[in-house]
Amino acid sequence: MSASGRPGDEAVDRPRQGTAPLLSARGLRLAFGGVKAADGIDLDVMPGEFLAIIGPNGAGKTTFINMTTGYLRPQAGSISYDGQPILGLSPRAIVARGIGRSFQLPQLFTEHTVLENAALAIAARAGLWSPLAPLLRPAWRTEAMAVLDRFGLAPLAGQRADALNEGARKLADIAMAVALQPRLLLMDEPTSGVAAAEKMGVVETLVRVLREAKVTAVFVEHDMEVVERFADRVAVWSQGRIAALGPPATVLKDPAVLRDVIGIEPPTGPPAGLPARESGHA
């Protein structure tokens, strides 16, 4: 275990404070009718960090992922990735720049095997669209098996994707995104629907693989134990705004966060001394 105490920290660079952000969002606004899903979102994601997004349902967490990956276009604001503007690009163009995503409901090709799902992601990355050569050609098959092996899914490679349990489906969904070799991965509730007994195992596997691959990650999460153990920073979403941002150790002690987001009454006593927003990245 590293000095920080976080699993998988040994093999990776920590978030590089002071360097240019990998992803930078400024003044993002988007409303659905009268509901403000994004109401002036400013956020920087630093290279190598694991940023957790927490907040109540409807706060705009998934909307942020959808805007960043080109699925939704904000009504105002800007998003840049690696210093280049990406607003207005299609999801395909954004994927090509190195941003991957996984989904709250795993988006696997259910008629395909797990191995074919992973191999198809590798084929997509390779851009080789020969209509006659087989998908499971030796090189892609080997690479797909290697990706699945890293996620502990190799024994399930021959199973149809719709036969997996929820934990395996989540990992397979993320494995497909990782097979695209993104530099930034946005994950929407990677542990939702996963049985409590297997949740920590799923996250530990996930974090280890992403750290090894030096992938920067942003993930929406409702489990505060997962956030506390695995996130470098946490952003608290509330009504389309970032209500708090900082290390989990401090943000998760904020009385307002405890009361409004986590839904528990903060312990009485001296104030935690948490600033409402951390200056710097956001």
């Binding site: 090709f109 006659l132 690479e143 098996m145 502990g152 021959g158």
Partner: protein, 336 residues
């Protein structure tokens, strides 16, 4: 969780998906079945000469239905695909007076159907489900109307008679010509069957199936679902053109009925009857369809459609995988 990081990434022994078709039947068994079906067709054509004509048409329609099968893999049904069959047939009818050579007419018919497929496909692949099906139907009815109304060029519903054609420069006798057409149809059926099988196992083919289940995911993998569907659509148009050319060369008479919506419905009917699980399904379905039609028409001339409809109903109720589904189930049962 995943054990040794240096563990070999080779597939476990039980991962055999590469050697199996979508229905789980091995390539060897499917190939053996295809060879058996081809041998049976030749035997029947030799033993019952008048069935040669029926089987040639069945093979031609099977080729067109292969195109329907591709679209079915993407979860899309075209109710207008006969327009490509009609394009191939009318290409032969229009050009045959100037070029009598089958080996030139066939690729020309395929080329024109492919170009039409590209033009139509660029428009229709933007739509899905019922809109995709109905747009195809609408466009095929436009072609039907043109073929019917432009009498000076198409002779309307009278149709165009196709003159005797040359094979590699020679004009064979009637019996030989029938065998040549049958052989050509069989050769094309095998060729297109192999092509479709390889295509469906390729990244493009697997992405095509992905349109049916997770089109959004394809986009987030950097894959254009429209381009994937367009390629399949154009390929299906090419096969429709080949089928139309074979129909025109075999029946030696083309009419606008070839483009009518019932002809497209017939192709979908055959696809369901044969089953979409294998490239062999369309040919099994086409043979079944033509044989049921011939014998039903002979037995109950006024109600043969009733018998055809009943057959389809029975297939949908008791064998939703079609003839291929029944066969592959038995093969898997034996293999177990």
């Amino acid at each position: 969780m995943s054990g040794d990081r240096d563990a070999p990434a080779a597939a476990p022994a039980h991962v055999q998906v590469h050697a199996q078709g979508p229905a789980g039947v091995t390539l060897a068994r499917e190939g053996a079945l295809a060879l058996l079906a081809a041998a049976a067709a030749i035997l029947v054509a030799w033993a019952v000469p008048w069935l040669k004509f029926v089987l040639t048409l069945a093979l031609a329609k099977g080729i067109a239905v292969l195109g329907i099968l591709l679209l079915l893999r993407a979860g899309q049904v075209s109710f207008g695909h006969a327009m490509f069959l009609a394009t191939g047939a009318y290409t032969v009818a229009f050009v045959a007076p100037r070029i009598e050579e089958v080996l030139l007419l066939l690729p020309l018919a395929m080329l024109l159907a492919t170009l039409l497929g590209l033009a139509v496909g660029l428009f229709v692949v933007r739509y899905r489900d019922i809109f995709f099906g109905m747009l195809n139907l609408a466009l095929s009815m436009v072609l039907y109307s043109l073929l019917e109304k432009l009498y000076d060029y198409t002779k309307g519903t009278d149709g165009i008679r196709v003159a005797a054609l040359r094979f590699a420069g020679t004009v064979p006798g009637r019996e030989t010509q029938e065998w040549l057409m049958f052989g050509l149809a069989l050769l094309l059926a095998i060729g297109f069957g192999l092509l479709v099988r390889a295509y469906l196992g390729s990244p493009m083919g697997r992405a095509l199936a992905g349109i049916k289940t997770r089109e959004t995911r394809l986009e987030f993998m950097g894959i254009s679902a429209r381009r994937v569907l367009l390629f399949a659509y154009v390929l299906s148009a090419l096969m429709g053109g080949a089928a139309g050319a074979l129909v025109a060369m075999t029946s030696r008479h083309v009419t606008p009925q070839l483009a009518y919506w019932t002809s497209s419905g017939e192709l979908v009917f055959i696809a369901i009857l044969g089953g979409a699980g294998s490239a062999l399904g369309p040919f099994l379905g086409a043979a079944g369809f033509e044989l049921v039609r011939v014998y039903a028409a002979a037995a109950v001339a006024e109600a043969w459609q009733l018998i055809l409809g009943s057959v389809l109903l029975l297939v949908i109720l008791f064998a939703p995988g079609g003839i291929w589904g029944m066969l592959s189930g038995r093969l898997r049962g034996r293999g177990a």
